[in-house]
């Protein structure tokens, strides 16, 4: 009989799943992890709902960091943010395999193992998305001086990109809002960032822009237009490097003014 551990689709959720699955002492072959919420139930399976638990997750993450190394830790954190139903199980198998090795740190290079390979692949995808957002996030200044940005990311990159902006703009109040997940990374001036969940759009979008905002937006559009070389126009290349889904929140591509 296989036990399926259903985890919440967050790093904490999955790490708790890893803890519980291991702790159940059923044997690694007899447990499975999933993050899917609506699954087709199978015969001869028992389904266990895993309640996210920060203490358990931290224990697992600490072990991963100490025994499997920083690289494996990063791989797992990035892979966990990518939407793929196989990820929880692959991460579990990778940790199990890694802890059985005499030198745990080698796990991040074992790309011949299908589970490690999958985690690696997901990490690569998530990293690309996160790296793109480092550049494509657009802040606008509100009347209150707060910088507000909106994204709609495929992977849950908020926690991956927020440290970068914390380092970059330490003396600003800023917010990055993930529309699809209704989460926001909030950074108060001079402090660290934190993540708010279940944030409604209206909470941020009622405030109007500062007076300078329109000028800078116009300046940026002017620059963006002027810097392209007409004789070399290549919109297909532009399209493949900057696909349409990212352009929604980038003001240089908005034809009409979206905010008053």
């Amino acid at each position: 009989m296989t036990h399926v551990f259903q985890c919440e689709d967050t790093l904490t959720g999955m790490m708790t799943g890893v803890y519980d699955a291991w702790d159940s002492r059923l044997g690694h072959q007899k447990v499975r992890l999933t993050t899917a919420q609506n699954i087709d139930r199978e015969f001869f399976c028992e389904y266990v709902w895993v309640k996210p638990d920060l203490t358990k997750a931290e224990k697992v993450l600490r072990t991963v960091r100490e025994r499997l190394g920083e690289e494996a830790y990063e791989m797992i954190a990035y892979a966990a943010s990518y939407p793929d139903e196989r990820k929880a199980d692959a991460i579990y198998r990778m940790i199990v395999l890694g802890l059985s090795l005499p030198v745990g740190r080698q796990i991040s290079g074992m790309l011949t193992q299908p589970d490690v390979q999958l985690v690696f692949e997901l990490k690569r995808k998530a990293w690309h998305i996160a790296h793109r957002y480092l550049g494509f996030v657009r802040f606008r200044e509100l009347r209150t001086g707060v910088l507000l940005s909106e994204i709609d990311a495929e992977a849950d990159v908020l926690a991956l990109i927020a440290p970068h902006f914390t380092d970059r703009l330490p003396m600003e109040n800023w917010v990055i809002y993930d529309r699809g997940r209704q989460k926001a990374a909030v950074h108060p001036l001079g402090k660290g960032f934190f993540i708010l969940e279940e944030v409604k759009e209206e909470e941020f979008f009622g405030i109007c822009n500062s007076k300078k905002e329109e000028c800078f937006e116009a300046l940026w559009k002017t620059f963006h237009r002027a810097i392209g070389i007409e004789e070399r126009t290549n919109t297909r290349l532009q399209g493949s490097l900057l696909p349409g889904k990212y352009r929604r929140f980038m003001n240089e591509f908005s034809t009409e003014k979206t905010y008053a």
Binding site: G109, T112, G135, P170, F216, A218, L219, I229, L241
Partner: protein, 435 residues
């Protein structure tokens, strides 16, 4: 506030003119420095650089690329800003540049500043203005973002040095690959004069490295190194000459990057060539590919091209081209070949080579693994064996491989494809040799 908004109209026009004038500069990279913020001011840098947008020509926009002024005392034939051209002129003030940079940077539009300039009155005056701008930005605004600035040839060495301590990258454009070309199209500029600041910056960087070893917090001098740029196709140099110059710049002057810019005929001038197919974009593309081979793959210019075969095959990338001429070295066994041999296989990049070396220590690889690691099997399949086996039986014959490589769906920019579709293929298929 009202006055500020009023000035904006003026600033808008200036930005339009000076961004337009700067667009022919290629370098827009923000890579090479890792610098945290340190909890004050604004900005940081990360080593791989960040692209913030892409312009309509598909080039990455990372830095606010502007000229300080487009007024110029020189009259270079190829340049839109030459003295004899009737174009609208404008100049920024240091304050205006700072306002733009800070305003854009806060909104995450840009990664930093790329500041170039026409020569206003004299090189010294211009360099001084660039220095003042950078000083204001770094010291008054505490800006820690990326700054790429031009060293103006002929400017006082002390000014260049002072500026170097504020910038991340400095560059001097060679403009044309050879001194003869420069003589023909930009007679007021001298090759030796251009190399002088490059040498100075190189020396400064070397000294600075030693200082940093002794004193960890010594100020950094041009930490991201220097770059240069050459115009391709304005004068008659062949690819071999260009690549030799690039290699020389990397070895002798330790440059970080050499950029190539396909010639655009922006001025009407009898000395400038008319290129019927538009700017030689595909040639530029092949040069960039070769440039990567020089920097990361351990190739030498002599291996890729020779005096008898001085131009790249436009239909094939330089690495495939090289491999086809050296079939005696293939196939390579992926499980055994050393890193440097793997690097020379078409379809294996330096990252996938690293992954292969790491992974094969811990297990046996198969073709599926290779694919997942990022090896482009479409090209690599002719040149490798994995566990002693080929992926499927392929002949190690020059024309067979060439035919199959060209048959693939690799998109060739610049219309090179249609030239081949009705002709018998030979190894020497090169559109430029056609009658």
């Amino acid at each position: 506030m009202g006055a500020w908004v009023g000035q904006q109209m003026d600033l808008q026009r200036k930005l339009e003119i000076l961004a337009d004038a700067a667009k022919y500069d290629v370098a827009c990279t923000s890579s090479g420095v890792d610098r945290g913020n340190g909890k004050k001011g604004m900005g940081n840098c990360i080593a791989p650089g960040i692209c913030h947008s892409f312009s309509s020509d598909g080039r990455c926009l990372s830095l606010l690329k502007i000229l300080f002024t487009n007024e110029c005392v020189f009259d270079c034939k190829y340049c839109i800003n030459r003295r004899s051209n009737d174009v609208p002129r404008a100049s920024f003030t240091p304050q205006e540049v700072c306002d733009l940079v800070i305003g854009f940077y806060r909104r995450n539009y840009i990664e930093g500043l790329f500041l170039s300039s026409g020569i206003l009155r004299s090189p010294d005056v211009t360099m001084e203005l660039l220095y003042q701008t950078l000083y204001k930005l770094r010291r008054e605004y505490d800006f820690q973002g990326y700054i790429h600035v031009k060293a103006i040839p002929g400017a006082d060495a002390r000014l260049i040095e002072k500026t170097g301590y504020l910038a991340d990258r400095m560059s001097v454009n060679l403009e044309l690959p050879t001194a003869e070309g420069l003589q023909a199209l930009a007679p007021q500029k001298k090759r030796e004069k251009m190399l002088a600041p490059i040498q100075q910056v190189q020396k400064g960087c070397t000294q600075n490295k030693q200082e940093l070893m002794l004193y960890r917090h010594a100020p950094k001098f041009v930490p991201a190194g220097q770059s240069t740029q050459m115009i391709i196709g304005a004068t008659g140099e062949n690819d071999w000459q260009i690549l030799k110059v690039a290699e020389h710049m990397y070895r002798r002057y330790e440059l970080k990057r050499v950029f190539y810019s396909a010639f655009l005929r922006v001025n009407e001038d009898s000395l400038l060539p008319v290129l019927p197919g538009g700017p030689p974009l595909l040639r530029e593309h092949r040069l960039y590919q070769a440039d990567w081979l020089l920097r990361f793959y351990g190739f030498g210019a002599e291996e890729l091209l020779t005096e008898d075969k001085p131009d790249f095959n436009l239909l094939l990338d330089p690495k495939c081209d090289w491999a086809l001429r050296h079939l005696e070295r293939f196939p390579v066994e992926v499980m055994k070949a050393d890193y440097h041999t793997l690097l020379r296989v078409p379809g294996i990049g330096y990252r996938s080579a690293q992954r292969i070396v790491k992974a094969r220590r811990l297990g046996t690889l198969d073709y599926q693994n290779l694919k997942k690691m990022g090896v482009v099997l479409k090209r690599a399949v002719y040149f490798i064996t994995c566990g002693g086996k080929q992926m499927y039986p392929v002949k190690l014959k020059e024309d067979y491989i060439l035919r199959n490589l060209l048959d693939g769906k690799e998109k060739l920019p610049g219309g090179a494809k249609k030239e081949v579709s009705y002709r018998q293929l030979t190894l020497f298929d090169d559109p430029r040799f056609s009658v």
